[in-house]
């Protein structure tokens, strides 16, 4: 029992379940099947993007441009759909993945082959991608009447009673789970984050791994870009503005260490689910949505304090008195 309580994922799962139940007591409608499915569907974007971000953070990187990539790709496919309403849906989805991957590979190349710090690269591409949306659409907003019926209906379609969004998120989650747990490539990501020098001596091609990870994350962001635009029926410059930080917050809450090398799929998913539940629960219990930011701020801080207590090495302390001081602090 004690060991179970110490397990970060179990603890987080219990907290999420407790919140869902507490909200359910206040407003029983929250616990109905339809409402819970809606919470999950709403959180699908965060599930996928959190796993994509986690792969990057594992290698000691960070991608601030994921939300801008999502918005740019979404705008691009919406424009294609408007210009050529007859394009088959499969082609649109493929196009979204390819555009997203291309944008991600720009980040990847600059980080892996040029050697610019990831935060600098993605800060720059964040601004560039947002600007390109404006250039591409000439400042226009595309709404649902600019998009074809097939384009819009896909995220709302049901397969075996489950929304297609959940199916897609499920596939992405499964793919990432296999990547992290079952492949040499995925284990290499942990090695790079844990100790880059050692990873290099083990024969891991660090730049190649980095490049692939950023490209895959871009592809996921591109896929989400199409789904986002189709689900909400709108594409504009500020789509998903600020979402990049929500993604990182979900990683942190889920126990992914920003210093690299630590993180699990289940943890990241629970971190995303936590934020998704909060966002969806507040209106149900008549709390103003303005509380959302304040609460997630508290949760991020609590999570990072719980998770990362002694991650930063401070060097060996020789004097006994210094060690005593250190224990007190």
């Amino acid at each position: 029992m004690k060991a179970l309580a110490k397990n970060r994922e179990v603890l987080l799962a219990v907290i999420v379940a407790a919140i869902v139940l507490a909200v359910g007591i206040r407003a029983p409608v929250f616990l109905t099947g339809a409402s819970l499915v809606n919470v999950i569907t709403d959180t699908c974007f965060l599930f996928m993007l959190t796993l994509a971000q986690m792969a990057i953070i594992l290698t000691r990187g960070i991608d601030l441009s994921l939300a801008a990539n999502l918005a740019l790709t979404g705008m691009a496919v919406a424009l294609v759909s408007r210009a050529m309403p007859g394009v088959p849906l499969g082609l649109i989805i493929l196009l979204a993945i390819v555009i997203g991957a291309a944008l991600g590979s720009v980040n990847g190349a600059l980080v892996a082959f040029v050697g610019i710090p990831p935060i600098v690269v993605t800060l720059g591409t964040l601004a560039i991608f947002r600007g390109l949306i404006f250039l591409l659409a000439g400042g226009e907003w595309l709404t649902s009447k600019d998009m074809s019926e097939a384009f819009l209906s896909f995220p709302h379609a049901n397969l075996l009673g489950v929304p297609s969004l959940i199916w897609i998120a499920g596939l992405v989650i499964a793919a990432y789970w296999i990547l992290y747990r079952q492949t040499q490539f995925g284990r290499g990501l942990y090695a790079i984050g844990g100790n880059p020098t050692a990873a290099r001596y083990c024969g891991i091609n660090i730049p190649r791994q980095q490049f692939i990870v950023y490209t895959i994350a871009g592809a996921v962001a591109g896929l989400c870009g199409y789904l986002w635009v189709a689900r909400y029926g709108i594409a504009f410059v500020d789509n998903a503005q600020g979402y990049e930080l929500t993604i990182i917050a979900a990683c942190v809450i889920g126990g992914v260490s920003i210093a690299g090398g630590i993180g699990t799929v289940s943890g990241a998913l629970l971190g995303a689910l936590f934020l998704g539940v909060i966002v969806n629960a507040l209106p149900v219990i008549n709390v103003s949505p303005f509380w959302q930011m304040l609460i997630s701020g508290f949760v991020i801080l609590a999570a990072v304090i719980v998770n990362a207590r002694s991650e930063r090495p401070i060097g060996k302390l020789i004097l006994a008195s210094a060690r005593k001081l250190e224990r007190k602090a």
Binding site: I62, L64, L110, V114, G115, I116, P117, I119, V120, V121, L123, G124, T125, L126, A127, I128, R130, G131, L132, F134, L135, G139, V237, L245, I248, A249, V252, I258, A259, S288, F290, W291, Q292, M293, L294, I295, S296, G297, F298, I300, L301, V304, I305, A308, R309, S310, E311, R312, P313, I314, G315, A329
Partner: protein, 332 residues
């Protein structure tokens, strides 16, 4: 005596024109000259002293925060909560103003709230040993959340005229130097002196180069970092005073997204995100380059979002070129 010769070490490297011209600051000066020449060529209104002085309003507040942020980044930390901090400072000022307090109290409150918020960041980072990027993403959400919960979709607009005329005003009637710009210049001199000419400045560089070694040489690493967070918060408070006075209102989304613009200023100024290097001169040059680029392009009606593309490219290219040349030199 010949032994002395063998171990003679020069105080500084001999003068070398190529390395002098390849210094980051020299590149920035050339970039600044290019920005001025291009802008003058495309718009006849650019080189107008009154236009230029008004242009400083748009970057002075950010630049003031960037000064403190630069020191923080040199010690390998970062503060992404500065813009949200502005929102909280402005909120408290607005609430006090509604209660009828005068300008001195408002200014003091803005600065005090800013420094306190900075101390919260500093305490979390240094006492709990947490990564500052995560802590300040958390406090960013927290501070902005406080402003949103209190204000909702409302705005506070009742401010004493002394505050607004200070935020919008010039140092002397007829002299085209805005107060905020003058404050930035004075602070830049103070920061440059402290960073480059005092023991504290050397300690800040030492921490950035190697925190463990700095600790062993007796520098209070965590203590210094804590006070730098407080200083960054204080500068955010000062920016909040100036900004609130200038626009005369407080909304929950005040200064939204400034944190990334400020970090861009610092990085373009040649302050390495990995810590340990950078100069205030570089930062000031980068402030002017960014400020004049945005001002010049908006004069010829290029929308701000398109200018963002240029700034993003500028940031990446300017960081990539030195790295590429160093790699290329290493090969030959």
């Amino acid at each position: 005596m010949s032994d002395m010769q063998r171990y003679h070490v020069l105080d500084r490297a001999p003068f070398n024109l190529a390395s002098y011209l390849l210094r980051w600051e020299s590149i920035l000066v050339m970039l600044l000259v290019a920005v001025i020449v291009i802008n003058t060529a495309i718009s006849p209104y650019f080189l107008d002293i009154y236009n230029l002085s008004d242009a400083t309003f748009n970057f002075s507040e950010k630049a003031i925060i960037a000064l403190a942020m630069a020191l923080l980044i040199i010690t390998r930390e970062i503060d992404l909560s500065v813009a949200a901090n502005i929102a909280v400072c402005s909120l408290v000022m607005g609430l006090l103003s509604q209660m009828g307090f005068g300008t001195p109290i408002l200014v003091f409150a803005g600065l005090a709230v800013g420094a306190t918020a900075g101390a919260v960041n500093g305490a979390l980072v240094t006492k709990f040993r947490l990564p500052s990027i995560v802590v300040t993403i958390g406090t960013m959400s927290l501070f902005r959340g406080i402003a949103q919960v209190v204000l909702g979709d409302q705005a506070l607009t009742k401010y004493p005229s002394a505050l607004t005329s200070f935020g919008q005003g010039y140092i002397w009637p007829g002299v085209p130097i805005p107060n905020s710009f003058a404050i930035f210049l004075i602070l830049a001199c103070i920061f440059a002196f402290v960073l480059h000419r005092t023991v504290i400045g050397r300690q800040i560089f030492a921490i950035g180069h190697n925190p463990t070694a700095a600790r062993f040489s007796g520098i209070k690493v965590e203590n210094t970092r804590f006070w730098l967070f407080v200083m960054t918060g204080l500068m955010a408070g000062l920016a909040a005073v100036l900004l609130t006075g200038r626009i005369g209102s407080t909304r929950p989304n005040i200064a939204l997204g400034w944190e990334l613009e400020i970090v861009t200023m610092v990085i373009l100024g040649g302050i390495s995100i990995a810590g340990g290097t950078g100069t205030i001169l570089g930062l000031v040059l980068s402030v002017f380059i960014l400020g004049l680029t945005i001002f010049g392009l908006s004069l010829v009606n290029i929308p701000g979002i398109e200018i963002a593309i240029l700034i993003g490219l500028l940031l990446i290219i300017s960081i990539a070129i030195p790295i590429m040349t160093a790699k290329w030199r290493g090969r030959t």
